[in-house]
């Protein structure tokens, strides 16, 4: 397993290099003059030329790409064209907030959704099941910024229970977390329900009951563990996406997260920020995917044994060669 993980980590390097190459190339050849963007329309042609020279923007493509990669190795993603702040520092400063919001929302959504999805599946067509199904339909169709605004109007303005903006402590987390979580919850509920419905019809569930096993153990040990793969896959996808920041939620609740920072950089054509942001998101996705794959192996022996067999084969090959 350790070898598998380290191999997966090493495999991430070419992927990230590819991302750097693609995003750098696209932005390099996209129209617009960065120096002009920085200085504004009032600057003279000469000033623009000087700044271009200073920033190395007149160098050939290859030289610039190489320089970017070299800086990247030192953790330097350049400086924002807009305010001259270090991109990596800005990203790292915002990331904890985004990470916190993403983790809380996903946890909140997953715990409730998985429990509700399981009950809904074992009590198919019951009142509870209908409520869950109805809720997930609503949750998927309600735009989350609208939900956020409604919550602010009701909970913050009308009832004055919770603060409407900022992200400074648990009291501030609740509304964004609900707003963000409802959509995730709806998705996880649906997939938990359908996956569980499929698994509890399987013969091996009946076998477990025929042994005299308790119903709760049948559901959690025998059924859920078999139904969990699609659930983990969805949660992984959602989490990866959530780590990129939730622009609308950050805007509605004035949360200083990654999402708004990155989206603003696009409209401002702030190339170093766009590059750094995309690269950072690609890195996060890679990490999340890796975690999901490790979890697959943990939950499904067919996946890990596939790998174990490969390893055994490799060991045997080695032994043969040594002889």
């Amino acid at each position: 397993m350790f070898r598998y993980i380290s191999r997966r980590i090493i495999m991430m390097i070419p992927v990230l290099l590819g991302v750097v190459f693609v995003i750098f190339t696209i932005l390099y050849f996209s129209p617009g003059d960065p120096a002009r963007t920085i200085l504004g329309v009032t600057a003279t042609e000469q000033e623009v030329q000087m700044l271009s020279e200073e920033l190395g923007l007149n160098d050939p493509y290859g030289v610039q790409l190489f320089r970017y990669l070299k800086d990247l190795l030192r953790g330097d993603m350049g400086r924002s064209y807009k305010n001259n702040k270090s991109v990596s520092a800005e990203i790292l400063q915002r990331f904890p907030t985004t990470l916190l919001l993403a983790t809380l929302s996903i946890l909140f959504a997953a715990v409730i959704a998985i429990v509700a999805g399981i009950i809904s599946a074992i009590k198919q067509y019951s009142v509870f099941d209908n409520i869950v199904t109805g809720f997930s339909l609503l949750g998927i169709s309600i735009p989350n910024f609208w939900l956020g605004l409604m919550l602010i109007i009701l909970v913050s303005l009308h009832w004055r229970l919770l603060p409407a903006s900022g992200f400074y402590g648990p009291r501030y987390w609740i509304l964004p977390l609900i707003t963000n979580g409802v959509g995730y919850m709806a998705g996880i509920m649906r997939i938990t329900r359908s996956s569980m419905l499929e698994v509890i019809r399987q013969d091996y569930i009946r076998t477990a009951r025929a042994k005299g096993q308790r119903e709760i153990v049948v559901i959690l040990k025998h059924a859920l563990r078999n139904a969990i793969i699609p659930i983990i896959t969805l949660i992984g996808l959602q989490f990866g996406r959530a780590l990129g920041g939730a622009v609308l939620i950050e805007t509605v609740f004035a949360i200083p997260g990654l999402g708004k920072y990155l989206v603003d950089s696009i409209s401002a054509k702030d190339i170093p920020v766009i590059q750094g942001g995309v690269l950072f998101l690609a890195f996060l996705f890679g990490v999340v995917n890796l975690c999901v794959d490790i979890l697959y192996g943990f939950f499904d022996p067919r996946i890990s044994s596939q790998y174990r067999r490969k390893k055994e084969k490799a060991v045997k090959m080695h032994a043969k060669q040594a002889n």
Partner: protein, 331 residues
């Protein structure tokens, strides 16, 4: 042999589906003596699995419903047991080997753990002791115990079937229901599994119900045979009764539809037609539409059960008048 381990009276089971009510079992009577082996024979859809699941109280919930009748196991009414009592019964007193071994094992648990689970549910022993017991069960069904921690996908079909049997026998049940234990297997493995079950029957003195549509399996394993058609027992008797003196036209039909080695010339004569749709059963004899000896009365009234002797009974109008009293006067 006189003590009854299982008594089923007038059992009726239906499946309530969106497309209608499927009457899978209709007034079934069956008894099994302690230590005996009963063969439950019938074509596909006859209600064999449904009967077995009713005994285990494992009918699919909520579609499968027992609408009438009683099932007594060792004198105790199974249909009135609480959930907790049912759990105690399942696996410990009554076990079942399910029809399809390929899907009956949990793919994400090791085969050893799945056997040990059954043991630990009914006996207060440690994990380690259960593992040792499970390993000896594996050995008993002819699987090397060092394969304890492998997963079902690493096993062949025949080996999975053995694991399923090992699970069922792990707690020495008094009654084993084996639902087509050999249909999924090729002939050589089939013979091995049967030999194994025979051996286990002798070792543990287990009573068995063997569900099959293979009359060869019945001849080899059973001392009682029940022929099931459309959820009813059309004929019941000892192995000799059924094989040598079949009375019901359906039973006779079953025997003429297997190729006979002695008279090679005789061709396979399958029973023509199809069994009626279980959601729209006819009023009279359910076999009438396929019966070569049909009389006009057959479609009008449900035929009575005729006791030919203490054991042998048949549900057919034609058998009327051949009943036990007449036998008695003749004898």
């Amino acid at each position: 042999m006189d003590e009854k381990i299982l008594e089923i009276e007038n059992l009726a089971v239906e499946y309530r589906t969106d497309d209608g009510v499927v009457k899978a079992v209709n007034g079934l009577d069956l008894t099994l003596e302690k230590g005996g082996t009963l063969g439950l024979v019938g074509e596909t859809g006859a209600g064999k699995t449904t009967t077995a699941l009713s005994i285990m109280r494992l009918l699919p919930d909520p579609q499968g419903v027992i609408t009438s009748g009683s099932i007594k196991f060792a004198g105790q009414d199974i249909l009135s047991l609480s959930k907790g009592e049912l759990r105690k019964m399942r696996g410990q007193h009554i076990s079942m080997v399910f029809q399809d071994p390929m899907t009956s094992l949990n793919p994400i648990l090791t085969v050893g753990d799945q056997i040990a689970e059954a043991i630990r549910l009914h006996e207060k022993i440690s994990r380690a002791e259960a593992a040792v017991r499970a390993q000896s069960m594996l050995e008993r069904v002819g699987i090397p115990p060092n394969r304890y921690s492998e997963y079902p996908h690493q096993f062949s079909g025949g080996m999975k079937q053995r694991v399923v049997i090992a699970i069922a026998l792990a707690c020495n049940p008094q009654l084993l229901i084996a639902d087509e234990p050999t249909t999924a297997l090729d002939v050589t493995i089939q013979a091995q599994v049967l030999a194994l079950m025979n051996k286990l029957k002798n070792d543990f003195e287990t009573s068995m119900i063997i569900i099959t549509h293979d009359l060869g399996v019945v001849a080899e394993m059973c001392d009682r045979v029940a022929i099931l058609y459309c959820g009813e027992i059309v004929e019941y008797g000892s192995l000799e009764d059924i094989f040598d003196h079949p009375e019901h036209p359906y039973t006779k039909g079953l025997f003429s539809s297997i190729p006979d080695l002695d008279t090679r010339a005789s061709r396979l004569t399958p029973i023509p037609g199809l069994a009626p749709d279980p959601s729209r059963l006819p009023k009279g004899c359910k076999f009438a539409n396929r019966c070569s000896m049909k009389r006009p009365e057959c479609v009008k009234t449900d035929p009575p059960v005729v006791n030919l002797d203490d054991l042998h009974r048949v549900k057919c109008l034609l058998a009327q008048g051949k009943d036990a009293e007449q036998h008695a006067t003749l004898g």
